[in-house]
Symmetry: C2
Subunit: 356 residues, 2 copies
C-alpha cells in the first residue's frame, strides 16, 4: 500500500485537506472527524454506486446514512436533478448537522455540492471523487453548479467541501476514455503553471495511460497542489483563478454544441487548449509540444465541425465574458498563463475556422 | 422632505449601506455608484411594478435595463419561480457585470436574491423593499431563498446586497393589513433587543398605524440598526443571529399549515411571539405588555386551530432544529432574548394547545 499524502487548501476558517492515497474509501482514512454530526446523505450514481457505495458505507458505520443514486451523465446536470437531491434531503428530515457526501465523478460532485450549498442555505459537504477528472479538478475549489439549456455551469454556488477524499484505487475501474479525459486537465496544470511538470508528463504519459500507480499518484498530487494554490489566492475567481479555465472558453462552446455528452468535458478541453494556444501565438516549439502531448494522451487536438459562427455565438454566453468583452486565458509560454481581453481578433477568427 | 439616514451593515469587504428616506426611488438617492456595470435586471411583481417601476427606471437612466414581473404571493416563492428569473438572466445574456435589483416585498426580494446568488455563482444584487416587513427585516442581512412544499425557506443562500434602498414613500400605497404584518417584526426587535424601543412602540402605535412619516421612519431606522448589528456579529447564523427568529419556530409552523398565504408572515409571527413568550415563562407584566402591543397593532395573539400535534410535527422540519433537539428563542425579559434547547416540555405542550 502506497503512502497517503495530504494537501491543504488554505482558506482561513474554511480550509480543508485533500487526502490522496490507495484504499482510503473503506476506512484507510477516517471520515468521522470531518462530519458535522451523525447523519449523512451519500449521493452517487447508477454506475459508481454498485462499485463503491458499500465500501464507503464501511467508513460511515457509526452514522445514520441515507443514500440517493442519480442517473449517470452530464445531461442530468440540471436544476431538476438538484431539486431531486433537495427533495431527498427534506424527506429524510436532514438538518443543519447533516453531512452530504458526493461519491462519483464531476457531475455527481457538482450537483451534490450545489444541493448542499442551497439546503438550509448551506450544510456540510464532502467530496469523494472517483474519476481522474474529478480528482484533479472539479472536486477541489468549491465550484458547484449545474448547466442551463443555454450555457454550461451558469447556475451554481461556491461551496467548499470539508474534505476531498481521493482513493486512487477507484481509478482501477475507470474506463480508458474517461482516464484520458481526466489527463486533459492534468496537462492543463502543466501548461498554465508548471513547465517542469509538463516535461514530466511528456516522459510519463505511457505510464499514466497504463494506470501505473506511482505515476497516477504523482500526477494527481501535483495537479491538486497547483489547484489548491490558485484557489487559496483567489477563491471566488475575481482574478487569477480564471487561469484554471485555460481551454475552457473554446471547450464549453464545443460542449454546448455537442449537447453536453457527445464529447466528454476533458475531450472538449483538450481541443480547446490547442485552440487557446494558437490564439496565444505561442512559439512553434511549445505549441508543438502541447499538440504532441494531447495527441500522446489519445485526446482530440481540434474541434468537431460545429461551425465557427456557432462557436463564437456560444462563447458570448461564457462566464468569462466580462463587460461585454471576451476574455481569454492565453499562454506566454508553456507553464505561464495570463487572463486577458487583449488578443488578435483576426487570429481568433482563424482559430475558430478549425470548427468549419 | 425629511432627512435621509444611512446605516451600515459591517461585513468587511461585503459591508453595505441601508439608506432610509422619503422619495429616494426616482433619484433622491443615486444607485449608480452601487451598480456592477451598466446592465441591470429589475425583478418586481404584478402589484408593485405598476406603482413604482417607472420611478425606479428614472434612477437607472444611464443603464441598459431589463425587467421581469413575477406573480404576486408567497405561494410563488418556489424553485420554479427562481428558475424563471434565471431563464430571464440567460435570455438577456446577463453576465458578471449585471446587477439584479429586487423591487417589491419580501417574496420578491427572497426569490430575486437567490437567483442573483446562483446565476454565474453570484452576481451583484440590490434590494429596493416596498413593504414595511421587507424594509425592516427581509431585505437586510443577506438571507435569500424559497420554500419547499415541506418547509419554509428550506432552499436558499446567503447573498448580501450591495445596498438596501428604503423609500418610505412606498408605504403610502401599502394596504393596512400588510402594514400591520410589518409591525409584527418591528415589535420583535423591541422584544428581543431593546426594551426602551418597545416602550416607544407602546407610545407610538397609533401614529404608526396612521402612517405618520416621522414615526414610521424612526421605527424602520431602529429596526434596521438592531438587525444590522446582529447580522454583523454573526452573518451566517452560527449563534446569536438566531434571536431574530423569535416567534418564527411557531410562526413557520402556522404558515406551513395555512399553506403559505392565508395568514401573512407577520401575522403568523405575531401569534408565534405570544406563544414563544409563554414558553419563556416571562413575568406577567412583560407578558401582558407583549400581548397588549400585538393587540394594539391589530395582530393575532393566538394561532389558528390547526391542531397542536400538527404544529409540533411542522416544527420538526424547522431550520432551527439542531442535532435533533428543538431550539427556541426565548425571552428572559422584554428586550433580552436567548437561544436555547432548555425549555419546559410540559409548558410547550400547553402552549401548543392554543392551536387545538
Amino acid at each position: 500500500m502506497s503512502s497517503t499524502r495530504t494537501i491543504t487548501v488554505e482558506l482561513g476558517g474554511r480550509s480543508y485537506p485533500i487526502v490522496i492515497g490507495r484504499d482510503l474509501l473503506g476506512g484507510g482514512f477516517d471520515l468521522g472527524p470531518h462530519l458535522a454530526g451523525s447523519d449523512c446523505l451519500v449521493v452517487s450514481n447508477e454506475t459508481v454506486a454498485p462499485l463503491y457505495l458499500d465500501k464507503l458505507m464501511g467508513n460511515l458505520s457509526d452514522c445514520v446514512v441515507e443514500t440517493l443514486s442519480l442517473p449517470d451523465g452530464e445531461k442530468f446536470k440540471t436544476i431538476e436533478t438538484v431539486s431531486a437531491v433537495l427533495d431527498k434531503l427534506v424527506s429524510c428530515k436532514a438538518n443543519r448537522d447533516t453531512t452530504v457526501i458526493a461519491l462519483g465523478g464531476g457531475v455527481v460532485g457538482d450537483i451534490t455540492g450545489f444541493a448542499a450549498a442551497c439546503y438550509m442555505r448551506g450544510v456540510a459537504f464532502i467530496q469523494v471523487p472517483t474519476t481522474l477528472l474529478a480528482q484533479v479538478d472539479s472536486s477541489v475549489g468549491g465550484k458547484t453548479g449545474v448547466n442551463h439549456p443555454q450555457g454550461k455551469n451558469l447556475i451554481g454556488a461556491f461551496h467548499q467541501p470539508r474534505v476531498v477524499l481521493i482513493d486512487t484505487a477507484t481509478l482501477d475501474t475507470l474506463p480508458d476514455r474517461e482516464l484520458k479525459a481526466g489527463l486533459a486537465e492534468v496537462i492543463k496544470y502543466g501548461a498554465i503553471a508548471d513547465r517542469a511538470f509538463f516535461g514530466w508528463l511528456e516522459d510519463n504519459m505511457p505510464a499514466l495511460l497504463e494506470k501505473q500507480a506511482d505515476a497516477l499518484a504523482h500526477a494527481i498530487r501535483r495537479s491538486c497542489e497547483i489547484k489548491a494554490e490558485v484557489v487559496a489566492a483567489d477563491e471566488r475567481e475575481s482574478g487569477r483563478r480564471a487561469i484554471l479555465n485555460f481551454g475552457h472558453t473554446f471547450g464549453h462552446a464545443i460542449e454546448f454544441h455537442q449537447g453536453y455528452g457527445e464529447w466528454l468535458h476533458g475531450e472538449a478541453i483538450a481541443a480547446g487548449m490547442v485552440m487557446a494556444a494558437e490564439l496565444s501565438g505561442l512559439n512553434d516549439s511549445d505549441s508543438g509540444r502541447l499538440r504532441a502531448l494531447i495527441d500522446a494522451a489519445g485526446l482530440p487536438g481540434r474541434p468537431p465541425a460545429v461551425g465557427s459562427k456557432a462557436m463564437l455565438n456560444a462563447m458570448g454566453m461564457d462566464k468569462k465574458v466580462l463587460r461585454k468583452k471576451l476574455r481569454f486565458v492565453l499562454l506566454d509560454e508553456l507553464g505561464d498563463a495570463v487572463v486577458t481581453a487583449e488578443y488578435d481578433k483576426s487570429r481568433l477568427q482563424q482559430v475558430l475556422e478549425a470548427a468549419d
